[in-house]
Symmetry: C2
Amino acid sequence: MSDKPDSAIEPTNLLLASNKVDGTKVVTRDGASLGSVHSFMINKRTGQATYAVLSLGGFLGMGKSFYPLPFESLAYDHVADGYVVTIDKRLLEGGPSWASNAPEFNQAYADRVANYYGVAPVDLSL
Amino acid sequence: MSDKPDSAIEPTNLLLASNKVDGTKVVTRDGASLGSVHSFMINKRTGQATYAVLSLGGFLGMGKSFYPLPFESLAYDHVADGYVVTIDKRLLEGGPSWASNAPEFNQAYADRVANYYGVAPVDLSL
């Protein structure tokens, strides 16, 4: 046990139930609200969340849109109990997204997301 | 691309959205229905599902109960599009579980689950 103020935080906080992912807050590096997590895309075999789909509203006056990001782009902040995304907002706004019709999250789409954010592509073959 | 019948399976099948985890089927090694996945308990920092909470009904004539298992106890079967659990049913029935009041999934509880199934404990400290 530590004497730091954080010691009051229950260790259970490190686990997030899959049915509670939706709504987890997402902030920018300076702590400003960016939106929330809509869902994680989880590799069924390994159990690893490979993409996080952010729900962001209000860009350019439009309604809520969904932005898939490589999970490695998110940093969990246990004080905020949310995720910090350091991707520049303008880069994010130009990234793969959808408003009402979710795309099929297949290899081509996953590759597109990985390429856009400059991370290694994920092999989704079974 | 393979000529096997499985080649018709879309690669997208490897990803499971966190809001679709609930209801994923769970079968025994011989393919018999065992129940379904209720949720994954996900490490917020790494994005790794560390536990799967199974929803099993009908044991001993009782209602639905929830059984947390180390994620490594589950093997994804892409033909069944579900998980195979090879843990003996009697061992499972005697394992940590709850019916209506979910326990706090803290370090002590996680250790209890890990110990019961004989797997390495997971460090849940932040």
